[in-house]
Symmetry: C2
Subunit: 460 residues, 2 copies
């Protein structure tokens, strides 16, 4: 008799796992049932800001593989079906049909928990007002567009200055709105050090975005029609016809916790390298509902990113399928942009390095995306952290224009390999005038960092 795999969650991790397992094991060997609460599968939540901004034409474009395509591949996909309980002892999952509420049990041999994350929503007055939106699901995206399209929206307030926040600020600008970004941090993009975040802030202000830092939203104010009209911090009110929440997400692990599975300090499930949930035979988890090991700090983090979710799903599916794969961890790479300003980071920022017990030097340089004389060359700022004594690369941050963001991949690979900044000065990176100065900006930063490591060793 075939083994049965049950997947909870029909997005990146769940459906990648199902697809990979199916590729390796036919329906006679492995039955696959996937439950998804919503009505879409395998979609790119990361693309929602660009859809709202009008650069992507409709939600369908964001769907990588439809329900029908999954079913054609022999996956019994049940949309509109929410998992409401996991019984590990009897190896079964309780589900409820969202429309109707009918509940039933489904047994499993293997279980993949891919329940994702839920957006952080501050518990403040007015948060549920008409015109206040998260941007995590396709339904959220549709709701934002409805608010924008009913007309009259002129002013947007974006709450939160992280990736979603800056990307939604761009989307609102593209929609022709006046944009205010309200952020708790010292500078926007708190995944960067403040000196690099300041560059993002200045660039955003140059685009006409009002950036309010160090401010917490206390209240959402509504008009008589129930629609949002402003956002209030302790000190000020910011008029708003639409409010977008970009306050990050938290692992959606209530179901797992209720089933008795242990959660990490960030509320995510903890897995081993094969993505098996710790202490639960035949139970796997990945994506936004797990914590991942940061290979540089040696600590676990919660990082909600589609690229990790896809990798997790692939690893789970290969392993269930009888192959062998592991997910060793992350180095904390993330790239984003706001209009033409590219933002990238990998490894640890200063406060993270200190929290990990590391001591380090920092190097900040300005260089050019192309040979200085080549048309379109743009300045970028590169910051590098290197460990004292060993000179090991600890982190890389880049803010610039075209050609800035993906240069962070050089640092991501170097971090994975445990390279020193001195070793990095000799890296054989691609050089031609349209693509790089003769010393790539990352090499210029490595040179400066290596010099500072050496100077520290000498105790100058």
């Amino acid at each position: 008799m075939a083994e049965r795999l049950v997947v909870i969650g029909g997005d990146a991790t769940g459906m990648s796992a199902a697809s990979q397992a199916r590729r390796r094991r036919g329906p006679d060997d492995l039955e696959i049932i996937a439950f998804e609460r919503g009505h879409h599968t395998s979609y790119s939540a990361c693309g929602i800001p660009y859809w709202i901004g009008g650069e992507v034409d409709g939600a369908d474009a964001l769907v990588a593989r439809t329900a029908a395509e999954h079913r054609e591949r022999g996956i019994d996909l049940r949309l509109g079906t929410e998992a409401v309980g996991i019984d590990l002892d009897r190896r079964r999952v309780r589900t409820r049909e969202v429309a109707g509420g009918a509940e039933s049990w489904t047994g499993f041999d293997q279980l993949v928990i891919a329940t994702g994350a839920v957006p952080t929503r501050p518990r403040i007055p007015g948060i549920d007002a008409d015109g206040v939106h998260g941007v995590q699901t396709l339904d959220d995206g549709e709701a934002v567009l409805r608010t924008l399209e009913r007309g009259g929206a002129r002013r947007a307030v974006v709450v939160g200055g992280g990736y979603i926040g800056v990307e939604m600020a761009e989307a609102m600008i593209r929609r022709g709105l006046d944009v205010t970004l309200v952020d708790r941090g010292e500078q926007p993009m708190s995944t960067l050090d403040p000196d690099m975040g300041r560059l993002v802030r200045e660039a955003m202000e140059g685009m006409g975005i009002e950036v309010v830092s160090g401010a917490e939203v206390r209240k959402v104010l509504t008009g008589d029609d129930g629609r949002v009209r402003a956002v209030a911090t302790e000190d000020a009110e910011y008029p708003a016809d639409v409010v977008v929440l970009g306050l990050g997400v938290q692992p959606n692990t209530g179901l797992a916790r209720d089933a008795g599975l242990a959660l990490g300090e960030h509320g995510g499930l903890l897995t081993d390298l094969a993505m098996r949930v710790r202490g639960a035979e035949g139970v796997w988890a990945g994506g936004d509902c797990v914590e991942v090991l940061n290979l540089v700090s040696g600590t676990h983090q919660h990082i909600a990113l589609g690229t990790h979710a896809n990798k997790h799903g692939r690893v789970i599916g290969i392993n269930i399928g009888g192959g062998y794969a592991t997910f060793p961890g992350v180095v904390g790479t993330a790239v984003s942009k706001v209009c033409d300003v590219e933002i990238a980071r990998t490894g640890l920022k200063e406060s993270q390095a200190r929290a990990a017990g590391l001591r380090f030097v920092t190097a900040v340089i300005e260089s050019s995306s192309r040979a200085g004389y080549y048309p379109g060359a743009k300045t970028m700022t590169v910051k590098m952290l290197a460990e004292l004594r060993t000179g090991r690369l600890l982190g890389l941050q880049i803010v610039g224009r075209e050609g800035a963001a993906k240069r962070v991949d050089i640092g991501a690979v170097a971090l994975t390999a445990g390279m020193t900044v001195d070793q990095m000065t000799a890296l054989d990176l691609g050089y031609a005038p349209p693509f790089s100065p003769v010393w790539d900006p990352v090499l210029v930063a490595a040179r400066k960092a290596a010099d500072k490591v050496e100077a520290e060793l000498r105790g100058h």
Copy 2:
């Protein structure tokens, strides 16, 4: 009394070495004399095609640091002065003034040989005709421009399908000429495998460039005015008002050989990791006149690239300056473009891997520069070579549009670190829809390569 450093060659390696040494040792401690045959220092030969193509405004833009700037930094720079002999026993260099011919001896304690390379010029009839040009020096660039600007030039023949060849083809197209590229190889860009070179060929043909492969130029035909009028291969004649030679370069090491220094099998000087010439105390060399160790094949190569020359100069200057630096070798990275087609390679191509005694699998995939739904996403083809059994990355080739070339840096770092393609599938590369699909094209290739390594292990 101060030590004396003599530098032969005032371009990237020579002047980088001089500058680095000067930064670390003042004039009282180190006298620096640099001889340069020409009239320019520290210029970007790689930029010449873009200057000729009209994208760079004048030769001055290509000069990174002028003679005056070097002199201000305490370097006794003597332009128009050619080194004609090296007397290692008596530690002195014989020089001749290009204008006038006066010769003299200059003693040295430390000597840097940075004599660069000379372009390959086939010994065929008509090769010295008016209108036939190399493109290695700023003087060459001026000569090409004079030929173009005297009017009437409609047809260009570019001889050689390597980097210079394809870049000059682009320049000639930008100048409005009809372009024929005549190349000996099976496909243009013979630093790529033929299947990838074919993509370059097809793209060039799509731009209206006539690409003639497998053809050797036998003769340059001239008119009564002594100007070039056509180029003849064994089989055909190609009308030409201007001919550009892009046949590569050879190490300019006659001086070194005459001084009794040993040369490698490619005619370049051989150095140790600190860039000291083997068997010659206090003699250093770098740039286009040396051979470099390819870290993947374990063999020496001659690679004329400004980025290596600059690194060599820095290493030499640091060491002469009393610091410590090494140049461990290269992995064979090179990037280029022809109009909007980007071309990149690192590591070994198939024939190189075989020649090195390696056995391998290959994986070729097509993917997208951005999320498929994001505006401006372009297809790129990625080819990966991975060693049998170990799965170690051996080479990476990419042909595509915007965003293709610099992705090769991921492979360059991974090769340096000795990563396997399986390890690469877990690399934490930057992902956001404007910059990458959720699986970066390099990761897609790594997945396929890893699958093929696994399949080979299983013996099918």
